[in-house]
Amino acid sequence: MLDEPRVLVRGKADARGLVKYAYHTAAEVTDFVIMLDPATRRLTLGGTVRSQTAWLASRPLVFVVMTKGGALRWPIDALDVTGGQVRAQLGALLERE
């Protein structure tokens, strides 16, 4: 089952992922998982939207995960928020801060 999507990043219980438009927080995401599809090398984000703002309609957006040493950032290529759940296609990891 090598070609099955695998979990790349899973947010811990208290982890907070942010959808950002420049420095504005467009949405806060909890219970998030970033999956990597080995076959297509695509990254997919799934999670629960805790809060969202009008900036969510702006582009470009970036998904940010805080780490102890800074932050991990991925550009968001496509985004869908339905029923409090977010699903997004992410680009390659941006330079680590």
Partner: protein
């Protein structure tokens, strides 16, 4: 119809010793309100007849920190071991903690720089408004014809 939303833009403010701040150029209405909320404190006032009312007054010390938190996006500051103090995208509480953690003279330099930035932006926006609206005097009216 006029555009009432500004694209987010930042300015880099140079500090002493090669340090710098990245600050928001302007605040949104929500950010401004949050700043005002964080700048005030509730005061309970008891009248002669015993009626207790609540008033809000400006807390000058809190107002300075509220201004800094509202504008500050990132900085170049490092801790005593030389490791960067991360504030970008951090929750408000973490930024406040970082501001408490730095040396008092460093904090005052940050607050002063942001205050100067805010004054400069206010002047720029006032100038832009004047240019957009054109003449500053009253509009001319046509004299009656006929």
């Amino acid at each position: 119809m006029s555009i009432r939303v500004r694209r987010p833009a930042t300015d880099r403010l140079e500090l002493s010793d090669g340090d710098y701040l990245i600050v928001k150029q302007d605040l949104t209405a929500g950010e401004y309100r949050e700043r005002m909320r964080a700048s005030t404190r509730a005061v309970r006032v008891t009248a002669a007849d015993g009626t207790v009312t609540e008033r809000y007054e400006v807390d000058r010390i809190a107002a300075g920190v509220a201004m800094v938190v509202a504008y500050l996006v990132d900085w170049s500051f490092a801790d005593a071991d030389g490791a960067k103090i991360h504030i970008a995208d951090q929750p408000r509480a973490a930024v406040l903690a970082a501001l408490d953690y730095i040396a008092s003279d460093a904090y005052m330099e940050v607050q002063t720089a942001i205050h100067v930035h805010e004054d400069a932006r206010a002047a720029t926006l006032a100038e832009e408004k004047k240019t957009q609206t054109g003449a500053t005097g009253p509009a001319r009216t046509l004299s009656s014809v006929g």
